[in-house]
């Protein structure tokens, strides 16, 4: 185990997989000479060279589309989108091609492809650069959508995504890059795709979260512990496929749940998870499930207004108190 930031964990996963498999290469805006706009690929260009660390034009359809084509030939590209907001420019290639080609041609094409994208707000980047639209991508069968909440998971899930024969959208959160944690050194350390994970055990209330809301939920659980409440925190880690098993098992004990996501509430991750709780564990419901999410506004530039719109640790804490009192 080594203590490192999530940025370092992601970088390490990429580096190790490129060392391990000649077919893995990365491409995107400024991944090469610049070293990555978030410094994830710093040092890669000098070590692996321009063939495997490919700077692209600012043209997201070309980035994702050509990665799909290269994957069809048996390579294992990792295409980086500087932010997930730019994924909209490549939406057709993510949704109509990456998610469909294997099925639509009767299983002939394989797409061992990873698209890395940075999601989340809170950095005063204004409405177009601050979105958390993760749920949109999880809507489509054929695509896998993964988003880690801890440095260890970031390493283990990214390595699994690169080794997967299916197209995976790997969503990172910009404001989590500096968070630190213990990360296994093992070069074959893999976390399974499509498995939720209990990050903290408890019997009083179930808090479901992913990505940036995982550390927030863990902090909220600490605050609840101060009130004598034991919250269980479950990290989805994967939005598609969505693993409900640990959530349902937990809910059957706690009978109360809060779901926290950074994106908007309407048609969101919380909507899906709470719906499934009602479908799968209706007889165990003791209080309405609560969803904590972003205020439904395009995110403003002003720092105070922006933070007001984003879901906070305190919101999760209060929501848990409400479902317990309800």
């Amino acid at each position: 185990m080594t203590r490192m930031t999530m940025r370092e964990a992601i970088s390490k996963a990429l580096w190790e997989e490129m060392e391990r498999d000649e077919r893995v290469f990365i491409q995107g805006e400024e991944v090469g000479l610049w070293g990555g706009t978030y410094a994830v690929t710093k040092g890669f260009y000098d070590h692996f060279g321009e063939k495997r660390v490919r700077d692209t034009p600012i043209a997201e359809s070309a980035i994702v589309g050509s990665a799909i084509g290269a994957a069809m030939t048996g390579l294992r590209p990792v295409a980086e989108l500087m932010t997930i907001n730019f994924a909209f420019v490549a939406m057709d290639h993510i949704i109509n091609e990456a998610a469909k080609l294997h099925y639509m041609f009767g299983g002939q094409f394989k797409l061992p492809l990873v698209i890395r994208a940075v999601s989340g707000g809170g950095r005063q980047l204004g409405a177009t650069h601050s979105q958390t639209p993760d749920a949109i991508f999880a809507h489509f069968p054929g695509l896998k959508v993964v988003s880690p909440g801890t440095p260890a998971d970031a390493k283990g899930l990214l390595k699994s995504a690169i080794r997967s024969d299916d197209p995976v959208l790997f969503i990172e959160n910009a404001t989590l890059y500096q968070t630190k944690g213990e990360v296994p050194d093992d070069e074959d350390y893999l976390e399974p795709l499509g498995k939720s994970k209990v990050q903290r055990e408890g019997d009083d209330v179930t808090i479901v979260a992913y990505s940036k809301m995982v550390p927030a939920a863990l902090k909220a659980a600490d605050m609840l512990a101060g009130d004598g409440i034991n919250a269980e925190v479950i990290d989805l880690r994967s939005l598609r496929p969505l693993d409900m098993d640990p959530i349902i098992a937990s809910f059957k004990r706690t009978n109360r749940a809060v779901i926290a996501e950074e994106g908007w509430r309407s048609y969101g991750v919380g909507s899906e998870v709470s719906s499934r709780i009602y479908e799968m564990a209706f007889d165990y419901v003791d209080a309405p499930v609560k969803r904590v999410a972003q205020a439904e506004v395009p995110l403003p530039y002003n720092a105070e207004l922006e933070q007001l719109a984003l879901p906070q640790t305190e919101d999760i804490y209060h929501a848990a108190k409400e479902v317990l009192n309800g």
């Binding site: 290469f25 063939k51 490919r54 692209t56 034009p57 043209a59 359809s61 070309a62 994702v64 589309g65 050509s66 990665a67 799909i68 084509g69 290269a70 994957a71 069809m72 030939t73 048996g74 390579l75 590209p77 057709d92 290639h93 109509n96 091609e97 080609l101 294997h102 099925y103 639509m104 041609f105 009767g106 299983g107 002939q108 094409f109 394989k110 069968p141 054929g142 896998k144 997967s164 024969d165 299916d166 499509g194 598609r240 496929p241 969505l242």
Partner: protein, 337 residues
């Protein structure tokens, strides 16, 4: 080409023509669903290019793909079965008219979003360069209509920046759906768009299969020798509407008739006879043979079963992945209701 190859090429074009005429009938009878975009009138392009394509050259095209499927070597039975949505179709009945492919034949589809396959083609060529397949060229077909969408420009630019061996081929059939080229494109010659990317380009005629063959062969060898992309604009014409639902209000019958007099099959037939490569009688026999192949394909497709219900959930992912929702009807069925 020897006599056999010359006659094979003729047979291929006649099979495409007859198979599509049959498909139109089957569509009108309701046996083929969805959209059906016929290639009739453009056969010299797919036959000509495919006759000089080497096995290592990847081929990718848009939704008007039946001719390409046949020219790439997919069995007409599998093409017809796919049109009917049957399990023996080349995409197991899941792709339909617009999504035919056979990766064993290096034919990568059959793509229905206008222009979206163009960046994919750059990636196919990148795959070959990366893996040291120095002798391979990716041939990417698209219509005039797709040269007005962003994908085209991103793909062309990338291919030039990365010096990828792609033969970009615009099949200019003069209409993007029902809109004539000069009503949709800022420049009247599609090849001019390659100039903006510093890419060699030219426009050639596409109704004479031997002409297409000769020109494309030359350009392919040039790419093989010199590397980098090249854009060819091939002038052709589709005799039928954009799809089966096209009222064709945008052009008059005389225009279609004028082009039909330059029919690619008729031109080639005349050449074969004039060049004493084949007699009219021999070619009549090939016509009959082609008709028989199409009859057989129809019978094969009709006899092929529908895909089993269980295949609904097959091939969503390569790796075993749980099915999250089976759908209400299937859930009712599995619960015996």
């Amino acid at each position: 080409m020897d006599k056999k190859e010359s006659i094979d090429l003729y047979r291929e074009m006649v099979i495409i023509r007859r198979l599509e005429e049959r498909a139109a009938e089957l569509y009108q009878q309701g046996k083929i669903g969805g959209f059906l975009h016929l290639y009739i009138g453009q056969e010299a392009v797919s036959a000509g290019i495919s006759s000089v394509r080497q096995p290592q050259d990847r081929l990718i095209t848009a939704y008007r793909d039946h001719g390409w499927a046949i020219s790439a070597g997919i069995d007409p039975n599998a093409v017809m079965a796919e049109l009917l949505g049957k399990v023996d179709g080349c995409s197991k009945g899941k792709g339909g008219s617009m999504h035919m492919a056979d990766t064993e034949l290096n034919f990568w589809g059959g793509h229905a979003i206008v222009g979206a396959h163009i960046p994919l083609a750059a990636g196919l060529a990148l795959g070959d360069v990366y893996q040291g397949n120095d002798d391979a060229v990716t041939i990417c077909m698209f219509g005039d209509g797709s040269t007005n969408i962003g994908f085209f420009h991103e793909g062309l630019n990338l291919s030039k920046v990365w010096n990828l061996p792609v033969l970009w081929v615009c099949e200019n059939n003069q209409y993007g759906m029902g809109t004539a080229v000069d009503r949709a494109s800022a420049v009247s010659e599609i090849r001019q768009k390659a100039e903006g990317y510093g890419m060699p380009n030219e426009r050639i005629e596409g109704m004479d299969v031997m002409e297409v063959r000769k020109e494309v062969s030359r350009v392919l060898e040039k790419i093989r020798k010199e590397g980098g992309p090249y854009l060819l604009e091939i002038m052709t014409y589709r005799y039928r509407g954009h799809s089966m639902g096209d009222p064709e209000r945008y052009r008059d019958k005389d225009e279609v008739k004028k082009w039909e007099e330059e029919d690619p099959i008729g031109i080639y037939r005349k050449e074969l006879i004039a060049g004493k490569i084949a007699t009219a009688k021999e070619l009549d026999a090939v016509d009959e043979e082609a008709m028989k192949i199409v009859d057989d394909a129809e019978a094969f497709a009709k006899a092929s079963p529908n895909p089993d219900k269980s295949t609904l959930f097959e091939d969503i992912y390569v790796e075993p992945t749980p099915v999250e929702y089976r759908g209400y009807a299937l859930e009712r069925e599995s619960e015996g209701r």
